[in-house]
């Protein structure tokens, strides 16, 4: 996780410096900036197995996690927007107690932040023994609380734990 953040920052500023101070071969626009950043990251990624073996298969997972997160963000916004613009409420607000597999401070912080940003949910509090996260959710499919918990656990928590451990 730490290596991933450092490499991301190196690629980001490398791309910026290349286009601002170097003699770029391509016309500057957003697509080429992203392509150069991804290329720098790819080079860094190929050199990692010599000193950090597990990172080599973490980068694809990180990219798929970011894509999944952006997709969920857009879907959540469309659901809430549909509920705002139609006269009847379809939502059934519920407070669910989500059992946590994440244990360290950083994992719990990231998980609750991601939950707050996605499908109509707001994380309210962590219990004192750090085992349960209380989440205020708007949409429960078929009134099935277990299914909703499993969706969050298999969607976000599993992917996040694969990255941080």
């Amino acid at each position: 996780m730490k290596t991933f953040i450092i490499h991301f920052l190196i690629a980001f500023f490398g791309s910026y410096i290349y286009f601002e101070y170097g003699q770029p071969m391509f016309p500057y626009n957003a697509i080429w900036a992203v392509v150069v950043a991804v290329f720098i990251m790819f080079i860094l990624w190929l050199t990692t197995p010599s000193y950090h073996r597990s990172y080599f298969h973490k980068l694809p997972k990180a990219i798929s996690f970011i894509v999944y997160f952006l997709k969920e963000l857009v879907v959540a916004n469309l659901k809430v927007a549909y509920d705002i613009l139609t006269p009847n409420y379809r939502m059934k607000p519920t407070v669910i107690a989500l059992p946590l597999a994440a244990s360290t401070d950083m994992e719990i912080t990231l998980l609750s932040g991601i939950i707050t940003l996605t499908p109509g949910s707001l994380s309210i509090d962590v219990s004192a023994d750090r085992k349960v996260l209380y989440v205020h959710t708007l949409y429960i499919k078929h009134n099935d609380l277990e299914l909703a918990k499993q969706t969050i656990k298999h969607g976000f928590e599993r992917r996040l734990l694969q990255l941080t451990r």
Binding site: V80, A81, T116, L138
Partner: protein, 133 residues
Amino acid sequence: MLEDINFLLIREIISSVLIIIGVMFMLISTIGLLRFPDFYIRMSAITKGATLGLGLILSGMGIYFNEPDMFLKVVLIIGFTFLTSPVAAHVIGRTAVRNKIPFWDRTNLDEFKDYLHKEHNVHRDHERDNKQV
């Protein structure tokens, strides 16, 4: 072949579409802030709408101006907004629960009852804070 394409026109179209979608999301979430039934549902509507709307508007602006400086600042602002806005929403929601802001009457609170009874007897933040002042 490449010289025939009008890049400025393409950039303008893409950035206008992104900015219009972002403004629509912000407008819709503001309507939701006015018409949703209780505090917590309003909170979750306004957080997501504002975050996504701001991201779309800023990325449209970055694509329109097409300079490395502008793009750097845009990506940094989007990143920090995504980090900080859920933390603010979480803290405001937790403070509301501690201060006994009522839930909507159709809310299913089965799994939350233990927490409500236990924690509120032990410490009530607003009363303790008032005593210290």
